[in-house]
Amino acid sequence: MSTSSPHALTAHWKKFLAVGVVALAVVWWFAFAGVQHHDNRQALSVLVGSLFWVAVLIGMLMLTMITRVFDAGWAPLIRRNWELLIAGLPVVILVGIVPLAFLPDFRHAVWYWTDGSHILPSGHEVGHDPILIAKSWFLNESFFLVRIALYVGVFGLLAALLRRWSFAQDTDRTAGHTHRLHAVSAVGIPLGAVTLTMLAFDCLMALSYHWFSTMYGVWFFALSIRLALAVTVILTYKLSNGGWLDGLLNQAHRHVLGCLMLAFTVFWAYISFSQYFLIYTANIPEETFWYNIREFDPVTGLKNEWWGVSMYLIFGFFFLPFLTLLFYRTKIVAGRLLAVAWVILVGGIVDLWFNAIPRQVYDKSAPEGFSVTPFLTSSLFLDLLAIVGFGGIVFALFLRGAAKNETIPVHDPRILESINYHE
């Protein structure tokens, strides 16, 4: 129970829930209609929308645990908002990815390796594909469903433990909870890292199951942290203007968040480029096709829409945030940091599109036997609606949690250090 009365903002949770439910109903309806007409693009909107928030919340879960093990003095004030938000992580997986995986029609539409009769660009059926047969110890439907259930379980358990003991400290004022959370985080970081890697393999890499990259899990981790920090900057900005961080969030907090955004912008670029670079250098067809369909049309050889998306990722998602965040003032002036956070948020959505949407689609009339899923379709709006929908659910849970618990961890041993944090 909260010792102080809940903040007025928390009363808005019903509006967020209503927006979330309505948006998700529309998205699921379109996805259902699409699957009935053998069009999988709308089902991918559910995947993109849920993975966006899964990435944000996994990032926050990891940041919560990392700041716990490092005893980060600046963190408690901001970490409480992560703890309130990560309640949504198992829920987003349950409402988004679990139905896609467990309902056969959707599963076959999204992950075509589960559909034995799906025709590959070679003209052969998936069921007779020697590559899939060789990978079937991992890529088989029952193990796949067990893994999806495990993602809900592992992330749900970690989020529950991190929240429970942190909230318990608000009332019973024992420092023992801090030690306990230290231990949970020390175990949780490697466990979370393996789980998020598997989730990235299953939900994104397996969309084109012929392709493989050992860097994929690290890429997803880098993207998750970048998105988590961008959402944190935007949220703390709102909360320091009429929310519970009013008068508490200072320049040094913005500076530390800005430094982390810069570090993970560089890290994301390093990982994304390395993945491309190794495949480019080795030049093996099993790997290069994944980048080829994202660069040029298989028939004409001319640059396709995805090439423009790639260029946006390089210049809009790396160089723009990188070069602006290099400057000290970008990290401390609230408005500038907020603008960079929005740039990263938009770039993260584009990066998810880049990874999830383009696939080789069997096309008998095409000389190469396939065409590439186009980028510019009306379904992009459905993707954004799905992001709004899952976001509504996440923030409804966030505000409910904020109404029932302290929004400032008043008895955290480092709360004063955090509030008085100095550069």
């Binding site: 480029f273 670079f277 480019y280 250098t281 030049n283 290099l326 000290y328 100095h422």
Partner: protein
């Protein structure tokens, strides 16, 4: 003793408490002093603002070094692989921004580190073998339990007697004139 001792480096005064030296520093800043310094045994949070210090100019040299390094890397790989001895490796172009990228960013990092390292030396006026402050008998105590403010003679506001009185008014304890 000799002529050398008549040149004054500045006036030093000691403080016993963090809050005393902190507020004294604010008053020196507000009096418009430019050439002065505070010596403490440990970092004091907020001292930069209390002294009115601007941000360090070192990052500018870091950026300059990074940009120089990137351009050097480009020229290096282009000259060697595409101009002086054109060579096809692994079916890649003679020169593009992709295949030599590790060279480009390693050069960027190396030169940025040079910019930072040598920039720090330049702005700290290092290397320097001795400093008049080291002659002060109680200077060693600022690495133990004493705080010190030094007003330097090269500041236009400096006047041996007035500066001494100014430091006294700030609550300074031992006031010493430092000779070059």
């Amino acid at each position: 003793m000799n002529e050398r001792n008549e040149r004054i480096h500045g006036v030093a005064c000691t403080f016993r408490k963090v809050s005393d030296v902190f507020h004294a520093a604010e008053k020196v800043r507000d009096a418009g002093w430019k050439n002065w310094d505070v010596h403490t045994p440990f970092p004091i949070h907020g001292m930069d603002q209390a002294m009115g210090l601007p941000r360090s100019p070192v990052p500018r040299l870091t950026l300059l070094g990074g940009v120089t390094g990137f351009i050097t890397g480009c020229l290096l790989t282009w000259y060697m692989n595409s101009y002086d001895y054109p060579l096809i490796v692994g079916g890649k172009p003679y020169w593009s921004v992709i295949f030599p990228f590790p060279v480009l960013y390693e050069c960027t990092i190396l030169f940025a580190a040079f910019g930072t390292f040598f920039g720090q030396f330049i702005f700290n006026r290092l290397p320097r073998h001795n400093h008049p402050l080291f002659e002060l008998p109680n200077f060693a105590r600022v690495s133990d339990d004493t705080f010190m403010i030094v007003l330097e003679a090269r500041d236009p506001q400096f006047h041996p007697d007035e500066s001494r009185n100014f430091l006294q008014s700030l609550g300074g304890q031992e006031i010493t004139v430092i000779r070059d």
